[in-house]
Symmetry: C2
Subunit: 334 residues, 2 copies
Amino acid sequence: MTRTSSQPSIASVAAAAGVSPTTVSHALSGKRAVSPETRERILQAIEDQKYRPNMVARSLRRRKTQSIALIVADITNPYYPALARAVHDSLAEAGYVSLIGNTDGVRENEQTMLEEMVARGVDGVIMRPMELSGREIREIVGPAIPVVVVADEDETGPVDRVTTDDAQGIDEAVHALHEDGIDDLGFVGDPLASTSMSRHAAFTSAVDELGLRVQADWIVDSEFTRDGGYAAARRLLALEHRPRGIVCANDLIAIGVVQAARDLGIAVPGELAVVGFDDIDTASLMSPALTTVLNPAAAVGATCADLILRRIADPAMEHQRVSLPTRLVRRESA
Amino acid sequence: MTRTSSQPSIASVAAAAGVSPTTVSHALSGKRAVSPETRERILQAIEDQKYRPNMVARSLRRRKTQSIALIVADITNPYYPALARAVHDSLAEAGYVSLIGNTDGVRENEQTMLEEMVARGVDGVIMRPMELSGREIREIVGPAIPVVVVADEDETGPVDRVTTDDAQGIDEAVHALHEDGIDDLGFVGDPLASTSMSRHAAFTSAVDELGLRVQADWIVDSEFTRDGGYAAARRLLALEHRPRGIVCANDLIAIGVVQAARDLGIAVPGELAVVGFDDIDTASLMSPALTTVLNPAAAVGATCADLILRRIADPAMEHQRVSLPTRLVRRESA
DNA sequence: TTGTAGGCGTTATCAG
DNA sequence: CTGATAACGCCTACAA
């Protein structure tokens, strides 16, 4: 009896079962009939050897890796884990595994990450880009790989899109503020991030529609982080004439803003109303509880997974664009 | 001139540069000298064709995938993203990519996930197991794959370990409560999760050391979630004679406990002191701010990555066990 | 119902 | 300094 220390292979199983590798392969895939007795022997051998097909060999041969890339700015932003988990679950069900990449939203990283994933032969890419457009992404990954982008571009580009109707929520927020007599409004967001841009645009149009005047220096830049929001607010709130309400591009920023206000002795919501975006867990738990726009992360993730699976199944399908609703969750901060 | 629509391969590059695939391979790997002129031509051809090596073919041949599995219970638990990000960053630097798996802490999923990752040929596994022991994990993945486990088993098993000194923090917590005259202490955690078990053990020994008596029904079970904590607390706080302080196995549970107390009209910290574990972001932001034990997620992640890289570099290295400190962060809830 | 042979794209070995 | 050749483990015509 020969004992090899190496991993069992389809060949070793075949040998043990007294059949050809071909038959083992078919017994596994069911793509061809195998007599009950041989199948039995094969299954037995597989069990004995604890055989599991080598996925990398299979991938090379099939030209499919059963893996998809999930590329986000920063998994540490509480918005993403919910999205990632939903993607993971839907995909796992279909036998896919997720490769995850963080880009910090910087253009070069986004590009490098995409190239790396393509080189690794992922069967699809789900990405929430901050700087790259759908068109640029398609350019980088080539024509053959399914791409689902989470972004708010209107452009109907060469990728599938999952969008949230951010304008809806922002609009509700601005109107709510207005109804409370708060018309001096500022916005803090990241002019480099597309997500932020579209929220900014929504803010601007809501404000315009209401005929409100917003000072140029009430629009301030910040990364999508607490620290960014804090720093931005320190600047904004130091202005001689400062806004009485601030709409933030995400909750992390809003949290930073609330902290800055507190440190400056400015009462929230009394002297300053703050509204966030995303509705991360912390929003409802913090004090003052954050008024924010609910961003359905899990639904977005599930939709992405669904879309990528559908496109893998039908590459010729016309490009999809699904939009998920968004709504204001009124709490204490505004 | 021939135009193929397929991806460029090492062969197409070789053809364009007028050399053999072997030479291209060496030009890329640097494992063998290549004359400046040929190298130049090769690089040019690579650029022209936008060639990138096919990682799956490379993996098959090299028997290395430059990927590692990161297996956790639930990426949605705010403790994990910080860990995952640290792992991701350290690994990316070394050219590795992370496959992420969620198990919800259930034994069967832990096993299946491990098998899947092994079949995919990961070069290492970083796992925070809830039910599987280091020994069992090693059993499943076989002897050859580096495994780093984040767990508190003392057992010096066949894997590398990163531990946090949970006992330290819990001990500080129990003592702090005691010094405040709070001696009726309860604990809520998950009897199935090893992480929770060790924290429970630490709680018990701290309490014993102080000579405190804890009622059997003050130890209650809960999953590592907010809802779990809420439900557990509803039961616990309905007791005729209830504890005046509750130590929780993690922050999510603690948040649920605080909410239950609020809903029951029990003042925190006035009538009930609550301490959590992990120090997730929300802990410092919520109201009352959560007193909790700081669990250095990012440091744990970085250490895991470091360890797995070291073992890949030196498979014969003796099994490591590194312990990271933990400490009480006193805030409002206790 | 089963088997043989060739190849997926790369790298390691051996030869020149 | 450079090439031919084989092999990594699997799948799929093509044959029987």
